[in-house]
């Protein structure tokens, strides 16, 4: 509940506070006029940070269309789009930067002119290389890395590279009505403003991942306002996608476990299936069997009750695998882009660390999925984190553990 109350107090304070401060050098009156409605929401300082951000966006499909649109409209400095695939007819179904005349063209190159038109102030850079050909150094020149619709082990490699470079990383994917957003911000600090309560705010841990690291107070209109600096710690895609468990407070409560969406188990099963089947999606009845076994194992490993994973859910999920539809990519792309903006502005609590979207129920619950033990930078020496995650969560290593793949080109850096 904490976060909610803080949000309630801090949101209006942004406009009251930030906007009275002189605009930073460089942000022009034209830009203030263009971005007027959003500056009133997050303040001119946050806009300045957005304006300086260089973002890497990997794979230009429907989900990335939405992310690109939202970030470019918001006024980032540059967007680098990496995609080596060519536009197919199926791409026309949910992607709005391309038309029939782009069939057979590179997907990033085809989308770029339309992305540029959204906001000519933003530099849009096209890279038609296969992302797998990039070394770790490539990622060092971006402020935030976003990878969409990729293989689980490719995400693992990219996340390893972002950890080496100390860069925030987002992964997201969509399967018809279902999808996910994962984030590894490594260690992220942000300031919430709230009216000071009678109880003093202690410098202490609030959850497994979040702690209060600093509190300052100021007077505003006769009210005492607290500026509370909080720190969130993260772990890697490798852990969150498989071995990491739900937080202790979930595991203690049957009611809460019952409420966890079975789509989380389905996604984990799908990731494992793809990892062991050369990246292909389940399609045959043979695949359905294997997928059912995997999903049941994942569900159990998460400690979720059997009855919440119904065969109907599994069938429905498999029916959606691999497709993209516009309304779902809009909500996921909207959530992801907003979190990127919030992280740049450092004024809002960010995603921690897995959001599972279920279009059947129109819900997007968030689950912090972490190993026990050190998080954040503390995970760095074991950047892929296999050992700590698998051992501490015990039991399912043989089934779940995917041996981390160190691409030589990344490790050499």
């Amino acid at each position: 509940m904490d976060a909610v109350q803080e949000q309630a107090v801090s949101a209006p304070a942004v406009s009251a506070l930030d906007t009275t401060v002189p605009a930073p050098e460089g942000i022009s009156a034209d830009e203030i006029a263009l971005y007027d409605r959003q500056i009133r929401l997050w303040g001119v300082q946050a806009q300045e940070k957005i304006r300086n951000a260089n973002i890497l966006l990997i794979t230009m499909k429907a989900l990335s269309n939405e992310i690109a649109k939202n970030l470019v409209l918001a006024g980032i400095h540059s967007l680098t789009v990496v995609d080596h695939a060519l536009v197919t007819e199926a791409d026309l179904g949910a992607q709005f930067f391309i038309t029939e005349s782009d069939l057979g063209q590179n997907r990033a190159a085809a989308a770029a002119p339309q992305i540029r038109k959204l906001n000519p102030r933003v530099q849009v850079i096209v890279d038609t290389d296969n992302i797998m050909s990039k070394g770790a150094a490539f990622y060092g020149s971006f402020d935030i890395v976003i990878a969409t619709d990729l293989q689980p082990d490719t995400l693992n490699i990219i996340n390893t590279a972002t950890r080496i470079n100390h860069k925030p990383f987002y992964a997201a994917g969509v399967h018809g009505f279902y999808g996910f957003i994962f984030s590894d911000l490594i260690q992220h600090e942000y300031v919430v403003e709230r009216e000071k309560s009678n109880r003093a705010t202690m410098l202490q841990a609030e959850t497994q991942t979040r702690s209060v690291v600093d509190v300052k107070t100021k007077k505003e209109n006769g009210k005492s306002i607290e500026m509370v600096r909080k720190r969130e710690l993260y772990s890697t895609w490798y852990l969150a996608s498989d071995a990491a468990s739900l937080p202790a407070e979930y595991l203690k409560s049957r009611r809460r476990l019952k409420a966890v969406t079975p789509i989380l188990s389905c996604l984990r099963a799908l990731w494992e299936f793809m990892t062991f089947q050369d990246g292909r999606l389940p399609s045959t009845s043979e695949d359905l069997k294997l997928f059912t076994v995997l999903a049941t194992q994942k569900h159990k490993a998460l400690g979720l009750p059997d009855e919440t994973l119904r065969s109907e859910t599994l069938r429905k999920f498999l029916g959606q695998v691999g497709s993209e539809i516009a309304p779902v990519t809009a909500v996921l792309g909207g959530q992801l882009a907003q979190d990127v903006i919030n992280v740049l502005g450092s004024r809002q609590q960010p995603i921690q660390n897995m959001v599972v979207f279920n279009g059947d129920t129109m819900e997007a619950p968030m689950y912090p999925l972490h190993p026990d033990g050190a998080l954040g930078e503390g995970l760095l020496p074991l950047s892929v984190g296999a050992e700590s995650g698998a051992i501490l969560n015990g039991g399912n290593l043989a089934m779940n553990g995917v041996v981390p793949i160190f691409q030589s080109e990344i490790v050499e850096v």
Binding site: D2, V4, A8, V9, A11, P12, S15, T19, T20, A23, A29, A33, L34, D36, R37, Q38, E66, K69, N70, L73, A74, T88, E89, A90, L92, G93, A94, L118, F177, I181, T207, E249, Y250, R256, A259, V260, T261, T308, Q320, S323, I325, A326, P327, A330, V331, G334, Q335, Q338, D339, N342, Q348, I351, Q352, G359, D360, M362, A364, P365, M366, Y367
Partner: protein
């Protein structure tokens, strides 16, 4: 069909076919009202999903400040029609969809009930209360499902409205724009907004426009309520206004800024201060003198260009005075140009406040801040005053994208051939408010022979004889009362003489004390041919055989329902602070487990957190009640 393969896969073949089939009578025809922030996003989704036919209605043109989120529009589209540009842009996303754009007001008569009946579904993507209520009324009359939406900053909501099955938009009271007692504005301001309203609705309009009394922000109802504001005091204010009118004669002259300044900031304040009983519990105001301030302006570093460029910073006394003088001169020059070009032909030219008109904004900023200084109130930057005076609601692309997406659920609900009953199966759909004057009414279309139908034909023949109404009833239209037992002089007049036209609405209220009927809303349709027998016929309600029986075709009113809390109206009441919504708070308690057990596409109103803050350490769906849109701080 490759373009369509994912929609086919995800929506299922029957639903996907229903959405698209263009040669079937049940083809989906969609009306989207509003092509702004939500509209752009929604249109993209509707077009990509591939609805057969989509109509877009918007009367607005594109503005620079739209471009940060209304992604169908570019810089070169500024000042062009939103509906037309949106149509052109969205067409490229899927050439198979038929799009129609109407650059028009949805309240125009061409968009009548019959026209609304031609749609499968209506989506509201509007920004104002008035148009929302209108579309709500039309959809109820046409019995077309309506999906209503709104966003404010990070928050948004979607509400589904279906006649008889869900609450309608007007089932809960909406907050109307805030107004202030005149005495607060004129004599005892205590907050920045009071001084802003003074600058915008009093000073600016006294000098350049219509008089303050016409401003909805000024509430005269309390004028004489408290003893402090006697009729004598009102008389003095009148005299002050008179004196101001005399100063107005000097508009355009070099001395005008000084005259006006000393009038409103020195003489009026000195007089106000002399009313000692007013300042026993308040800090008395301190008059300002123009010459004294101007003398203190340093020689360098005070150019008006530099001040005006800095809209983010709060200006000091001297800076505000310089801007006051400068903006007053700009406005005066403009008014004189307007006067000379109008050649005295039409009405006196006026200048009214527009947040995007820098001259008026500068003037309101400076005059409000000067008044704030006098009363010891916090001063504000021009950027902030623009928001407060212009009722600006923060708006971002991502929230609009997400809200537009929530519509997906309703597409399923209304079009899915498999789950037509789902909407009713849910216990989270809010039932209609039985006292709602808009949806809990009986409705009928009325076929009228306009050449001869009189009010008496309606009251006596149709309502009393055919429908069995008793003596106690009243008939109203949008303008006011047409008939009640004491108001009978209109009875002999033709409906056409009373300003009733085709597509007019009439409301019949049963004033019977014991067992009144619900209100009856009549939608007038002009008969194209002369009706042979009676000049008025009900199209949807047949006559009851025996009058005054409980089997009257109009249902009786139910017992009063418990009071309903004000609804959460994001972006509806010009950005005023939201109340809490009973459904939202119900959703707050709703856990994911309940959601799993329940039927799925059912959430009536769900606030959506774009950044996942809806879930904290506990997995309940948590709704943040507040947002960054509080414009009026009291």
């Amino acid at each position: 069909m490759a373009r369509d393969q994912f929609n086919q896969k995800s929506l299922g073949i029957p639903l996907n076919t229903m959405v698209k089939e263009t040669d079937k009578s049940e083809q989906a025809r969609i009306l989207m009202v509003g092509a702004g922030g939500i509209g752009c996003e929604l249109l993209k989704n509707l077009v990509l999903v591939g609805f057969g036919e989509i109509h877009i209605v918007d009367l607005d043109t594109i503005d620079l400040s739209n471009l940060n989120r209304q992604f169908l529009f570019r810089h070169e589209h500024i000042k062009k029609s939103k509906a037309l540009v949106a149509k052109e842009a969205a067409h490229k996303f899927n050439p198979n969809v038929k799009l129609e754009a109407h650059h028009a007001n949805i309240k125009d008569r061409q968009f009548n009930v019959e026209w609304f009946k031609g749609f499968t579904m209506v989506f509201n993507a509007l920004d104002n209360l008035d148009a929302r209520r209108h579309v709500n009324k039309m959809c109820l009359a046409a019995e077309v499902p309506l999906i209503e939406s709104g966003t404010t900053g990070f928050n948004g909501q979607v509400q589904v409205i279906k006649k008889g099955q869900t609450a309608c938009y007007d089932c809960t009271t909406k907050e109307t724009p805030k107004s202030f007692p005149v005495c607060t504005i004129r004599s005892t301001p205590s907050q920045p907004i009071h001084c802003i309203v003074w600058g915008k609705s009093y000073l600016l309009s006294e000098i350049f426009g219509a008089s303050e009394d016409e401003s909805p922000e000024m509430d005269h109802s309390k004028d004489t309520e408290n003893g402090m504001y006697s009729s004598k005091e009102i008389e003095k204010l009148r005299q002050e206004a008179q004196a101001l009118k005399q100063i107005k004669e000097a508009i355009g002259s070099d001395t005008f800024p000084q005259l006006l300044f000393n009038k409103v900031y020195k003489d009026d304040i000195t007089r106000l201060r002399s009313m000692e009983e007013m300042w026993k519990t308040r800090r008395p105001p301190g008059p300002l003198d123009y010459e004294t301030i101007i003398k203190e302006v340093p020689e360098i570093g005070m150019s008006k260009e530099r001040i005006l460029k800095d809209g983010q910073r709060i200006w000091n006394l001297q800076e505000n005075t310089i801007v006051f003088k400068d903006s007053l001169e700009r406005l005066s020059a403009r008014l004189q140009t307007m006067k000379s070009s109008s050649n005295g032909s039409s009405a006196e030219p006026i200048i009214t406040f527009d947040k995007d008109d820098d001259d008026t904004l500068d003037f309101v900023t400076a005059s409000a801040n000067l008044r704030s200084i006098i009363f010891g109130i916090e001063t504000k930057s021009r950027f902030d005053i623009k928001q407060m005076a212009g009722n600006i609601i923060p708006a971002i692309a991502t929230t609009n994208a997400i809200v537009a997406d929530l519509f997906l659920t309703y597409i399923q609900v209304f079009l899915s051939p498999f789950a037509p009953e789902r909407l009713l199966a849910s216990d989270r759909i809010r039932a209609p408010n039985p006292d709602c004057e808009v949806c809990s009414v009986a409705q009928t279309r009325l076929l009228v022979d306009m050449s001869r139908a009189t009010l008496n034909d309606l009251v006596e023949d149709f309502l009393r004889m055919e429908l069995g109404y008793g003596d106690e009833l009243s008939v109203k239209n949008e303008v006011g009362l047409l008939y009640d037992p004491e108001e009978t002089e209109n009875l002999s007049k033709k409906l056409s003489e009373l300003g009733i036209k085709s597509d007019s609405f009439l409301t019949v209220t049963d004033e019977d004390e014991d067992n009144p009927r619900v209100n009856l809303v009549l939608n007038v349709r002009e008969s194209s041919t002369e009706l042979d027998d009676k000049p008025i016929k009900g199209l949807d309600i047949s006559a009851s055989s025996e009058a005054e029986l409980p089997t009257s075709p109009i249902p009786r009113r139910k017992k009063p329902a418990p009071p309903v809390q004000p609804a959460l109206t994001n972006g509806h009441a010009n950005g005023k602070k939201e109340g809490s919504d009973p459904i939202s708070s119900a959703a707050k308690k709703r856990t994911a487990s309940e959601a799993l057990d329940g039927d799925s596409p059912d959430a009536t109103r769900k606030k959506h957190q774009p950044n996942g803050q809806g879930t904290t350490e506990n997995d309940d769906l948590i709704i943040i009640e507040d947002d960054g849109a509080i414009l009026i701080d009291d």
